[in-house]
């Protein structure tokens, strides 16, 4: 039996973009058009987890699913170059909603049902834009599946999922019956780089594109959870005192003296 794996991946603003490049326009966060988006880092770790599962099982099929609109194809095809088998873009202007997980969850759950017979869904633990850490949990709830979060290791034995979950001081091992959802954390390890063969192969693959209509989703019937009231640049309340000296050593000594004067130490 082929193990059917779905990985959800999100195209996001590169979180390494310098703070000065972030702007706010018409209640949306913007960066200059020359700043290329990236795949959310934790999602790349989810792809890595899927590839390891495929290597361990010998017979697996990895479908990457991404929700949004305005995809950068060279970016979103990276999972194919890493070794995923198939890419499905849920591409519809109605899916372009940064603030409310409701539509994203509904679209992903509908796509997973449409793909059919999925054994396991792997997702990044959270996305670097809104850090909501809830879409994969919502998908699990919508499908009625168990979800194990913040995984550093994912194994499948028959129909049993075994996950090492990261805890603040160690980890917990949990088991659940498939089908299930797993969210993956950075402790899993660095995702592999695509090799040349993978990059060439990915070029030849065209993603499947599904719209809301293809998923039989009546977006209007979904009740939103949130409305955006305001979006603004953060105010730093701190006034920074830079300590300087004749040289770095002198600055270090002055820093100690300054902290002492302020009775901080």
């Amino acid at each position: 039996m082929t193990l059917k794996i779905v990985v959800t991946a999100k195209q996001v603003i590169d979180p390494e973009t310098p703070t000065s490049a972030f702007g706010i326009d018409s209640n949306a966060v913007t960066v200059p058009s020359n700043q290329s988006p990236v795949i959310n880092g934790f999602d790349e770790q989810a792809i890595e987890a899927a590839l390891r599962l495929k290597e361990a099982s010998g017979d697996a099929h990895i479908t990457v699913v991404s929700v949004g609109s305005g995809f950068a194809l060279d970016v979103i095809k990276k999972p194919l170059a890493m070794g995923a088998d198939e890419l499905i873009l849920l591409d519809d202007p109605a899916f372009d909603n940064a603030i409310d997980p409701t539509v994203t969850v509904a679209a992903l759950a509908a796509a997973i049902r449409k793909i059919g017979d999925v054994d396991v869904v792997l997702a990044g633990r959270q996305a670097s834009d809104w850090d909501n850490a809830q879409v994969p949990i919502g998908v699990a709830e919508a499908l009625g599946w168990p979800v194990a979060t913040v995984a550093k290791k994912v194994d499948i034995n028959g129909t049993t999922l075994r996950v090492e979950r990261v805890l603040p001081d160690g980890h917990e091992v949990v088991e659940a019956d498939l089908p299930a959802v797993v969210t993956v954390s950075n402790e899993l390890g660095t995702p592999r780089y695509p090799n040349m063969r993978g990059i060439m192969a990915a070029r030849r693959v065209q993603p499947t594109v599904w719209s809301a209509a293809d998923l039989d989703l009546a977006i209007g019937s979904l009740s939103p959870a949130f409305e955006l009231v305001s979006l603004s640049k953060p105010q730093s309340g701190v006034e920074t005192e830079m300590i300087t000296g004749d040289d770095d050593e002198d600055a270090g000594r002055k820093l100690a003296q300054r902290l002492r004067d302020e009775r901080i130490i």
Partner: protein, 330 residues
């Protein structure tokens, strides 16, 4: 938003007491009630023993404490807490559910929100009620490069508060309230079964409890310099932390990680060495009383959040800093 009967706090236990984050959520709930006249504040507590905790929660303003006791709840599976919370929601029918973005909360609250037909307002640093009696939730987004306020427009609002963003109130033993024991089938709720736990204990003071934290980042260049940070921590009676970059590089264990996906620390003094100050890191330390940054890049983000900064080579700054400290501390 539909009419609802006040606010329900999804409590967490620390031993036999409510967790500090639960007291913060109760304080947030009390302040919201000022805009919801005639409505009430409730709490749900799931633990091995909840009687004492229920009285503490009542002293902190809860008018009803829903409790569920079971030996398995000493270290509860998230799904068990979700089941208990669902039953409390059914009985209290609140308009607003408040919890905390803790290790347990990040698993419990999204599940609960989706089961209640809404989504979670995650990681809120402030909450308020608008004229339409909707919950307004404010939170940093895009790695702290923006601050968003959303209005919760579904019939029930669920929000997770960032730890230590709201002060816990003072207990008032003259407050009274009722305790309602819940009956919930916990065993059938748990589908993600814990089978083993591996503790990775650090030596010395726990990072989360330390009054001084010395953290190192990518700028340290390797594992060796963390020994120097350890010496400084020993000198100040503190603990050593790290940025995610340093943990991912394998220089220190992941239990050292301070940040959005690591630990949240709020020491009196936080010294960041060779840390650029990405907001993913700052989310874990920005509530420290005093932040000191040492970084060779004068333009590093960390200096925006630091009270004191030295733009210099840590290999030169740090030894001189420690030497002077030793002299000052005698």
């Amino acid at each position: 938003m539909a009419d609802g009967n006040g606010i329900l706090v999804i409590g967490e236990m620390a031993g036999n007491e409510p967790a500090s984050t639960t007291l913060e959520a109760l304080a947030a709930g009390l302040s919201l009630l000022a805009s919801l006249p005639g409505e009430k504040l409730s709490v749900v507590l799931a633990g091995a023993s909840t009687a004492a905790a229920a009285q503490v929660a009542i002293a902190h303003g809860a008018q009803t404490a829903y409790t569920i006791e079971d030996a398995s709840l000493a270290d509860p599976a998230p799904e068990a807490v979700v089941a208990a919370a669902q039953e409390a929601v059914r009985q209290a029918s609140p308009r607003i559910v408040l919890g905390s973005k803790t290790i347990l909360g990040r698993d419990v609250l999204p599940r609960l929100a989706f089961r209640l037909g809404t989504a979670l307002a995650q990681d809120c640093t402030a909450v308020a009620i608008d004229d339409a009696k909707r919950l307004l939730a404010t939170r940093p987004v895009y790695g702290g490069n923006a601050v968003a306020t959303v209005a919760c427009v579904s019939d029930i609002a669920v929000a997770a508060l960032r730890a230590k963003s709201i002060d816990a109130g003072e207990p008032d033993s003259s407050r009274t309230g009722e305790v309602v024991a819940l009956s919930v089938d916990l065993a059938s709720a748990v589908r993600v079964r814990p089978v083993d736990r591996v503790e990775q204990t650090a030596e010395g003071i726990r990072l989360e409890d330390a009054r001084v934290v010395i953290s190192g980042g990518r700028g340290l260049g390797g594992p060796e310099p963390f020994k120097e940070l350890g010496k400084l921590a020993a000198l100040l009676g503190g603990a050593v932390g790290a940025s995610r970059a340093a943990c991912d590089a394998g220089w220190v264990p992941s239990s050292y990680q301070v940040g959005l996906t690591g630990k949240t620390v709020t020491p009196e003094l936080y010294i960041a060495v060779g840390i650029s100050g990405a907001s993913q890191h700052m989310a874990g330390c920005s509530n420290s009383r005093t932040i000191v940054a040492i970084n060779k890049d004068a333009g590093a983000n960390i200096f925006k959040d630091a009270r004191f900064g030295v733009a210099g080579d840590w290999q030169k700054v740090l030894p001189a800093f420690m030497e002077q400290l030793q002299e000052l501390l005698g």
